[in-house]
Amino acid sequence: MNRTAPRPAAPAVPAPAPPSGPLHRLAWAAADGWTVARRDVTHWLRQPWEPLFGLLFPVLMVLMFVYLLGGAMSVPGGGDYTEYLMPGMFAMVMVFGLGETVTAVAADSARGVTDRFRSMPMSASAVVVGRCLADMLRSAAALVVLIGFGSLVGWQWHGSAGAALAGFGLLLLLRFALVWIGVYVGLVMRGQGGIAVIQTLEFPIGFLSNAFVATATMPVWLGAVADWNPMSSTVAAVRGLFGNPAAAGDGWVAQNALLMAVVWPLLLVAVFAPLCVHRYRNLDG
């Protein structure tokens, strides 16, 4: 039992002075956010299987849709189905990230890690900022893998490199908006409940869009719903930027995809970011 008996207290650690001005505070917030995000990176390095399987899933989806279902698919207005599909798959990967966000946030809340963070003298925004950084990193990595795999199965972009970069930027913007939804759901529905909800909803949300088939092939009312799915705007805009077949509908929202691919995510962030901050400050209450 001697081994476990603590020795006399070590000399007190000099507590760092609290931040003195707004700039200093901002520097602390950024450093804290990066520290929290690094925890996720360490997770990936220590347990690489989980993120690797996460990457494998969209690859399998592409194989399924290109080779299993692709033969039966035709793009209204003509064009190669693989070229039509890939922007949809990119957006789908962004939506799948939602489950990862909810899982991480809910697990920390349930285990008391969030409470410990909240009782520490760290920047209040760091938990959410760190979550955001880590999730964006992970989704960006997934995007890179899928871009590579898409090229292998015959997808390519036809526009300028600048337009292609803008397309990837729009995809990550969608993911950024989903981070805030995920954090909110994770904070509100602690534990397994939130995860189950999101994993059940991910597929209908992803499929009720223009990602896999043109909305014109759906019943009129359903096509309208799919057109107003924020994910559809991103997919349609990205197809345009990549020069891939778009088969866009006639409705206003489908015709203004590029505009809406920016407006939708900003709107979602504007709604959910304040909700997250409020919820984080008033957990339990």
């Binding site: 476990t4 603590p6 650690v13 925890r39 409470d115 009782s119 339990d284």
Partner: protein, 347 residues
């Protein structure tokens, strides 16, 4: 800017704290004072309001009524200053399961703005101090319960805070893990730290705390040193369990005579309980009397009062079974191995 607190300010001072969830008050009229460098135990059953009190005092929850200062700063108005001076060790070990112990402590060190190098040095010191140096690179998920709690304690000590909150630090631990945590807590106090400890176990409060506040239905119903409280609730008890229910009445009379105290009998468990003043002597007298009386005894245990008995004494036997205290008492919140470890005598 508020003036710096006096050096003699108590570690924790709470006056009339109220906190409700929806329309149910979890805390109401809660008063508490924890002296500097002391261990104060908050003793009570599940749902008494102990964790809510800790969450208010660690700035996680805002009180709806009353005021509280921790390390001299107001928890509602000066939350950031309070957070610089406290360590919280919550009910579940709030450490990262995937990271190693060292990585966990480095993470928390960086989040306390020590900087990478100082955080690494501090992590090494704390691992050493809490006997975790040889855990190496193992992920925390492989630790025993006691090791995890010690790491949790270490994570609460990054800045050597003057006030540490321990919310049921030994719940769910086996006796060995509990001993590990107890000796770690004693080490904190040796370093001059003030500790507020919540527990459901009278024995734990008795062993660790300088003073104890007994909490029930959201407020303190008794306060004092362990010796004061024990003199109010009676001392140790002897439990005699018989083989034969029919011998109960005769045996009860023998035990009553041997201990000089009236007994309580629980016929369905064939158990007789009585207070004892002089522990071993009473035990010997009772065992001899039963033996000479030809009573077949299944078990004899000398033990401290259980939490149930503490509450019976402090709140009185409440009428009816519908009252919360009565429901809890019959529900039995205290784990048997926690009550009976003082001393057992078996025949």
């Amino acid at each position: 800017m508020a003036p710096a607190p006096a050096r003699t300010a108590p570690a924790v001072s709470a006056r009339g704290i109220g906190r409700r969830f929806k329309d149910r008050w979890a805390l109401r009229g809660f008063d508490l004072e924890v002296g500097r460098g002391t261990v104060h135990g908050l003793l009570g059953p599940n749902g008494a309001g102990k964790s809510t009190a800790v969450r208010v005092l660690t700035t996680l929850l805002r009180p709806h009524e009353g005021t509280a200062e921790v390390a001299g700063y107001d928890v509602a108005a000066q939350g950031a200053r309070v957070r610089h001076r406290i360590g919280l060790v919550g009910q579940n070990a709030a450490v990262d399961e995937v990271l190693s112990g060292r990585q966990n402590l480095e993470l928390f060190g960086r989040l306390h703005h020590l900087g990478g190098r100082a955080a690494a040095r501090r992590a090494a010191e704390l691992l050493d101090r809490f006997g975790l140096s040889d855990t190496g690179k193992r992920p925390v998920g492989t630790y025993s319960g006691g090791m995890r709690r010690r790491l949790d304690l270490a994570a609460g000590m990054i800045l050597d805070p003057p006030v540490v909150f321990l919310d049921e630090p030994t719940t769910g631990l086996d006796p060995r893990g509990r001993d590990e945590v107890w000796s770690a807590v004693r080490g904190l106090v040796g370093g001059g730290t003030s500790v507020l400890l919540t527990t459901q176990y009278l024995e734990e409060a008795d062993r660790l705390a300088d003073r104890i506040s007994v909490v029930d239905t959201g407020h303190v119903i008794a306060e004092g040193t362990p010796a004061e409280l024990k003199s109010r609730i009676g001392g140790d008890r002897i439990d005699v369990v018989l083989h034969d229910e029919h011998a109960l009445a005769g045996a009860a009379a023998l035990v009553e005579e041997a201990t000089g105290h009236s007994v309580r009998t629980a016929p369905e468990e064939r158990r007789i309980s009585a207070e004892v003043d002089d522990r071993a002597a009473s035990l010997t007298r009772a065992v001899r009397a039963l033996d000479e009386g030809g009573v077949a005894v299944a078990d004899v245990v000398l033990r401290g009062p259980s939490l149930d008995e503490v509450f019976l004494h402090l709140t009185g036997p409440r009428a009816g079974t519908g009252s919360p205290a009565a429901a809890r008492v019959t529900g039995g919140t205290a784990a048997p191995e926690q009550q009976d470890t003082r001393q057992e005598a078996r025949r």
